[in-house]
Symmetry: C2
């Protein structure tokens, strides 16, 4: 048994064996793994924070499946964990549904599943339920994974509220931007360019929840995935009626990303990240929050990159080194499909 | 804008508009719809049952997307709601992640989304979070939907326990078997056969939870989807070490399904259902549970179809009208791919 066949998706003998051979060894938690409706103890729900549940879901269709810095499985865990963390929730449980193409190598599936298990362990979440479907060869592309996360909001998440935003609030990013998008692009297109672009794909929950627990002036947090840093800030400006100024020379971009982006005409501000968050923080606390983020490995490149210039205006302004303000908009059209 | 483009999956302007135009109108609940990390009130968690959370996930890849009796959206809601219900959980929240093929008709997407909204309303669940990814034309097949359900176990779910199974316990099915598989097969293959096969796709939560609350002798419940009725019973026999006898003439099969299955050589016992559950019930309560199920529209065809003959043996025996016992096994190989 080295390739996925349609029989693996039929719910019969082959499905049963696939689950026993590939999923149970990596995803089980001591007790008998049940993949239809995991039952989670009430105690877990009440032990943390306010008992409010946070639920988030994402499908992952990245191509290629394996790339410098990770694979689709790592992405699926990190993406879901980070969505919970930026809501101020402690990620507890993740479900994982696989849509597999007939002919997919079981060894590749196992590598993906084992990566998911190890990322989940690091993040402190449990993979509690799963599903496997198989689609005919040519009717899908390798494997798609949909993960759903369930977490509990921490008490400290109450500070996350757009209503508290003030002029002068600082915009912080937790590190260099554009790494994931660049790594995927280079791996996929195989341009004849020497590069060392590596995806930043990582779980940020420990860092972000630490910051949240230590401070009271964090207004907003968001992971800057599809659409990149600029899209998060445009959405905040539009949704909450703000004029946000982003200062070009403050935005951390690695040399690798800078070089490739210039060469190929991409804007790192719009390139997706899978291990970076953006925070809007009360000015008085900004330096302290920055230091806290930098004390974590995942945040060592964190920087203050902008401010809320005005309540009103609904715009993101980009200030160049020459002091010129350029207005940034939502991404329009297609920049880089299937990056997550 | 009449077709899905790659830009709809980029997280920029087009994604934003798709969400505003298609998802928000159907899925929002009064408050501002948030599609990244829905926050659910603690009160909901504690108001029902024991506070234990049940989580379940399934991907849906059915082909064709539209069929007599439903579409992929109805299937996605019913499948997830039923997985929660058979665990004895009140379904509260559902998340929905869409993987769309470039070129997919937005009118079809809207029909699917609107069906999901109406099924969710009937079942009493809220669609609380979503995601949309777009894949290049030819790299996937129309639309795949992954739904994850969150529910709370009812107090009465405590009766569900394999440890209470006794010899003489009755096997009940909530209606005719094989309807969904047959409807999909006929719609997909377009054989030149007149037929009126209709999928049984439906949410069973109200019926099953009513039965659970009224009785104390229900040992097991399961929805008989992929692999059909026989697979559920083989799994019970093997997992709990039972000899279960299934009586051929007691198993309800519609004339439409019977005719088509005979003609094409399918066994209705292994054909998938999307609106039928199997229950294992204490003998003394079997008739009363049956009457309760029959009092619901979804259970009007319910029947007692077998018994636990012996604790031990790990086998499913099929008793023909001539009194011959045939042993049934798990489905081996491929019978009917992409039926859900």
């Amino acid at each position: 048994m080295s390739m996925i066949t349609l029989a693996h998706g039929e719910g019969g003998e082959q499905s049963h064996r696939l689950i026993q051979d590939i999923f149970v060894p990596y995803f089980s938690h001591g007790e008998e793994a049940k993949y239809d409706g995991a039952i989670l103890p009430a105690a877990d729900l009440l032990r943390i924070g306010r008992g409010e549940l946070v639920v988030t879901t994402d499908s992952f269709v990245v191509k290629p499946l394996f790339f410098p810095g990770g694979n689709i499985g790592k992405l699926a865990i990190a993406g879901t964990v980070n969505d919970l963390a930026v809501s101020g929730a402690v990620p507890l449980y993740v479900t994982a549904a696989f849509i597999l193409e007939e002919g997919f190598l079981i060894s590749q599936l196992e590598e993906i599943v084992s990566t998911m298990a190890s990322e989940a362990r690091k993040a402190g979440v449990r993979i509690v339920a799963g599903d496997t479907k198989v689609v005919q060869k040519g009717k899908t592309d390798g494997v798609f994974i949909t993960t759903t996360g369930v977490g509990i909001r921490r008490e400290s998440a109450l500070q996350l509220s757009a209503s508290k935003i003030e002029e002068g609030d600082a915009v912080i990013v937790t590190g260099t931007v554009g790494d994931h998008g660049t790594a995927i692009l280079m791996e996929r297109e195989r341009f004849e360019i020497d590069h060392n672009a590596v995806s930043d794909c990582a779980c940020l929950n420990h860092m972000l929840l630490d910051a949240l627990d230590c401070f009271s002036g964090i207004r907003l947090m968001r992971d800057a995935t599809r659409g990149g840093l600029a899209t998060v800030l445009v959405e905040w400006a539009e949704d909450f009626g703000l004029t946000i100024e982003l200062v070009e020379e403050k935005v951390p971009v690695s040399d690798a990303v800078k070089g490739i982006a210039q060469l190929l005409g991409y804007d790192p501000l719009y390139l997706p990240n899978e291990g970076k968050a953006v925070l809007l923080v009360e000015n008085a606390e900004a330096e302290k929050v920055l230091a806290k983020l930098q004390s974590h490995e995942a945040g060592k490149g964190a920087a203050i990159i902008g401010t809320v210039k005005q309540k009103g205006g609904r715009q993101l302004l980009f200030k160049t080194p020459l002091g010129i303000h350029r207005r940034l908009h939502r991404l329009n059209g297609v920049q880089l499909p299937r990056i997550c």
